[in-house]
């Protein structure tokens, strides 16, 4: 189950050591060492330190994912490609989920440009996009963000694609940490379709189709 985490964790120790260790920035070395020390044993994901757009310092797994149903995507403030549309689309998802966001379902957006997008920039973005409370925008050290991106499966094996911000992932990672059930939805998909996938991993939801309150009452 946790192969990927172990491999990511072990990456530093085994191979980087022999091949590339000397060429790594100190930053990554630090991050790898930290992961080995404190990585959560039950998670797919690196338990890196992040900052929220509200300036809160959090551990990715311990504070944001553990025991939760989450929906996670990547974006950056300066993005003029898919991000604005994705953010607008996910805002619709947030609105439709209503009170569930922040209680049962947790939404996170992680910047792809952590060196530029500091918490205050993300806060401005949140205000500008009129994001409702309960959806956190996250930044951190570039090395941690990169490891997190790989941990979340948000990469392309072709480096030319992987390193091109214009072709960054359009996936929304959707999962339920309680039963270790992970999947994804296209972040640009119809909001109702995204909610279907969230409802699928949410054990409390019997009907996975999105229904407004009235429709749900009708179906009984």
């Amino acid at each position: 189950m946790n192969t990927r985490r172990n491999l990511l964790a072990g990456m530093g120790a085994v191979a980087l050591g022999g091949l590339l260790w000397n060429r790594l920035p100190v930053e990554l070395e630090h991050a790898v060492a930290e992961e080995i020390d404190t990585g959560s044993p039950s998670s797919y994901f690196p338990n890196v330190w992040l900052y929220t757009h509200e300036g809160e310092k959090v551990r990715f797994y311990d504070d944001l994912v553990r025991g939760k149903i989450v929906a996670i995507n990547m974006m950056y403030v300066m993005c003029t490609g898919a991000c604005p549309t994705m953010t607008a689309n996910l805002r619709k998802v947030q609105q439709m989920l209503g009170e569930r966001v922040g209680q049962d379902v947790f939404m996170y957006s992680i910047t792809l440009q952590p060196e530029i997008d500091r918490p205050q920039h993300l806060k401005e973005y949140v205000e500008q996009q009129r994001i409702l409370p309960g959806w956190k925008f996250l930044t951190g050290s570039p090395a941690d963000i990169r490891r997190l991106r790989y941990g979340l499966g948000f990469y392309d094996p072709v480096p030319e694609v992987d390193n091109n911000l214009a072709t960054h992932t359009g996936m929304l990672r959707v999962g339920n940490d309680r039963n270790q059930r992970w999947t994804m939805a296209p972040a640009l998909a119809d909001p109702e379709r995204i909610i279907t996938t969230i409802n699928h991993v949410d054990g409390a939801m019997v009907h996975t189709a999105y229904m407004s309150g009235d429709a749900a009452v009708h179906l009984g």
């Binding site: 990927r4 990456m11 191979a15 499966g153 990469y155 072709v158």
Partner: protein, 682 residues
């Protein structure tokens, strides 16, 4: 412990026989020479593994590695391993190889487990019996006509339960562990599940219970939607991806959850309405089908857990009785000498437990192949003819099978059916079968040619780069031995089976009909880190095509990139390949693909033109890549058969786009869901 295992497997895995290879971009055996290369092997671009290895390092090292130069493929570059020094790191994202297994310890049964009919209580109904716990499906189509009204044979009922088996042993080297499978008449779920033997003209109900552990933790989701792969069936019984159910949950296209769901397989041939003969067109008969889970977003993990089984269907031609006195009967080798074999790639952790990575966008390529649920099993056969039905059950690996003697000398056989459908005539003296994911091949092997005691191996010579799920690499002898066959007895009765020179008639292709058919184009491509069709991702509530019932169309499947192969599966009806192109040049269609198919392997920079009909039923269906990773990453489209012609798409009745327009926009217009704009953002 390990040393003890290794004693049992000479010539397979030895300590020190694996190395981390930068050249191969992963783990590779230290020995292993290239004895042959397939003609298109040189087409390989650098594998994603090499690339992916670089990807980890790339943000740090890209400049120093000079990626731009590396990305150029040299013309006539037939040594594809030479530029691998950029691949130093991705191998670290790969799990290490599965631990060594002990070959040829587990014996497959000499006859396949055949599901027996039951009396269903409560009896099946046209409308979902939600009061009794049935999931809220749409009513069965044509129930009165095809179920209630007497047909060629009285209705038959089967019952299966998707269920966990906590102690499956893939191989004696691995501990007992949980799998998901199907439980039939006897206690205990198996993978594959029991085989259903069906008959054309016999209405068949399969009541599928979901008894998977609802509190399951880990990969796989305990909801099911069971697709009967290549059955000509009504939508509500097709196992549409979002028709998934459990007692606790209803997929978005079901009204209510349920503990079971009845699937009504009318067992009519396609062409029922067209021929008005009460059974359809026997030229459209299917033969080797399989049922498998198709749950939206979770097909790969659920199939990897084990949710698959065979469904074989017979008629007056392929009658399933090699002693059939009827002049119409082919008398092909029949049960117990008719034997399906399901091959699937799996990978195991260092404790021998099967693993799956739910968030790896490339999935996990199995380095062990399970054959009917076991790694390196033995099949004991009688010295006579057998019909072997080979299925690539996925999730991602492609195979090229050979039957060899222990000294690796290749043996011949007769190829009689592809994708489960009998060919018009057998292909004699064949020696290899290539299968993309969920392609099938029926072959007849005459074991009477061998003295008792002869040992043969079914080997796979098609390789993938370590961990690469996007496409196969090349053909290398001697290959991996997947199944040992021992000719160990004479048959109790004389072998009266035969392979006649004519099998099943094909409906002739009508050039005028093809020329008049609307052409619909489908581009299979990558977008936003996922897999797209016409730039779109699957939405089970959005039909991207609406086709009038009874319509005839030409579908052009396009792949304009060169880094992957897509085995494209089209539900509902079989297609005929009209033409194929590679890099814009028309290429010949191999003989085994000249029959009817339901999986079309779309290789790099190629197109396939397929003639399809949409007859007898209506509703929602899908087309998707059957590389299960690509399917779960949204490479699937919903298309609907509609009865009201006014609701059908008006498709351009033009010929295909010329090749220079390969990268052009999709031709396919869709008049529904207009507000959902088309997005393409690579």
């Amino acid at each position: 412990m390990k040393a003890k295992f290794l004693e049992h497997c000479p010539g397979t895995l030895k300590p020190g026989s694996w190395k981390i290879s930068v050249k191969a971009g992963g783990w590779e055996p230290i020995t292993g020479e290239v004895e042959e290369k397939e003609s298109r092997g040189e087409e390989s671009r650098r594998s994603f593994l090499k690339l992916g290895a670089a990807a980890i390092a790339a943000p740090l090292l890209l400049t120093s590695l000079g990626s731009a130069a590396r990305s150029r493929r040299r013309p006539d570059d037939d040594e594809d391993d030479e530029d691998d020094d950029d691949g130093a790191l991705l191998l670290l994202l790969l799990p290490p190889p599965s631990p060594a297994t002990i070959p040829w310890q587990i014996e497959l049964p000499t006859a396949i487990d055949q599901l027996q009919p039951v009396v269903l209580d409560p009896p099946p109904m046209a409308v979902a019996n939600t009061a009794a716990g049935e999931a809220g499906r749409a009513p069965h189509q044509r129930w009165n006509e095809l179920y209630e009204t007497p047909r060629q044979y009285p209705p038959v009922h089967y019952e299966l339960s998707a269920k966990e088996n906590p102690a499956w042993v893939f191989n004696p080297a691995y501990p007992p562990q949980r799998i998901w499978g199907y439980e039939g008449n006897t206690s205990g779920a198996t993978t594959p599940g029991p085989t259903i033997f069906a008959r054309y003209g016999q209405p068949t109900i399969l009541r599928m219970h979901n008894r998977l552990p609802q509190d399951h933790v880990g990969f796989g989701t305990p909801e099911i939607s069971t697709h009967l792969h290549n059955m000509h069936t009504a939508s509500e019984s097709d196992g549409f991806p979002s028709d998934y159910y459990s007692v606790n949950k209803a997929g978005p296209t079901l009204a209510t959850p349920g503990e079971f769901k009845d699937h009504f397989y009318a067992n009519i041939y396609a062409g029922y309405d067209e021929l008005q003969n009460g059974i359809g067109d026997p030229r459209e008969a299917l033969g080797t089908l399989f049922y498998h889970d198709h749950t939206f977003d979770f097909t790969a993990p659920n199939v990897v857990r084990g949710l698959a089984g065979f469904y074989l269907i017979f008629d007056h031609i392929d009658s399933g009785d090699e002693r059939d006195p009827s002049p119409s009967a082919l008398r092909l080798p029949s049960y117990p000498y008719d034997y399906p074999l399901d091959f699937g790639d799996r990978i195991f952790d260092q404790n021998g437990i099967m693993i799956w990575d739910q968030v790896n966008p490339e999935g996990l390529l199995g380095d062990k192949v399970i054959v009917n649920g076991y790694i390196e099993p033995v099949l004991r056969v009688a010295a006579r003819k057998y019909r072997l039905r080979l299925l690539n059950g996925g999730p991602s690996r492609f195979y090229e099978f050979y039957l060899v003697r222990p000294n690796n000398v290749v043996q011949t056989f007769t190829y009689i059916g592809n994708d489960g459908n009998l060919l018009p005539a057998p292909l004699f003296n064949q020696y290899k079968v290539r299968l993309g994911v969920t392609e099938r091949a029926d072959i007849v092997v005459d074991f009477s040619r061998y003295p008792l005691g002869t040992e043969l191996y079914l080997v796979n010579r098609l390789t993938h780069r370590p961990g690469e799920t996007r496409r196969p690499k090349d053909v290398r002898a001697p290959g991996d031995r997947l199944l040992k066959i021992i000719v160990d007895r004479y048959p109790p009765e004389q072998d009266l089976s035969q392979v006649p020179a004519v099998l099943r008639e094909l409906r002739p292709l009508d050039p005028a009909e093809i020329a008049a058919a609307p052409v619909r184009r489908w581009d299979f491509d990558r977008a936003n880190g996922m897999w797209a069709v016409n730039g779109e991702f699957f939405d089970p509530q959005r039909a991207d095509a609406k086709i009038k019932q009874g319509g005839v169309e030409v579908w052009e499947l396009f792949s304009i990139d060169d880094g992957w192969s897509h085995p494209i599966h089209i539900h509902f009806e079989e297609g005929r390949i009209i033409s194929k192109t590679v890099e814009g040049e028309e290429v010949s269609v191999p003989p085994h693909e000249l029959g009817r198919k339901d999986v079309f392997v779309l290789n790099e920079i190629s197109s396939i033109k397929v003639l399809l009909r949409f007859r007898d039923f209506y509703g929602k269906y899908v087309m998707h890549c059957h590389n299960l990773i690509h399917e779960d990453h949204a490479m699937m489209v919903r298309w609907d058969v509609v009865t009201d012609p006014n609701l059908a798409d008006q498709v351009n009745e033009t010929v295909a786009a010329p090749e220079e327009e390969l990268a052009g926009p999709p031709v396919e217009p869709s008049n529904d869901n207009a507000p959902r704009q088309r997005r393409r953002n690579r």
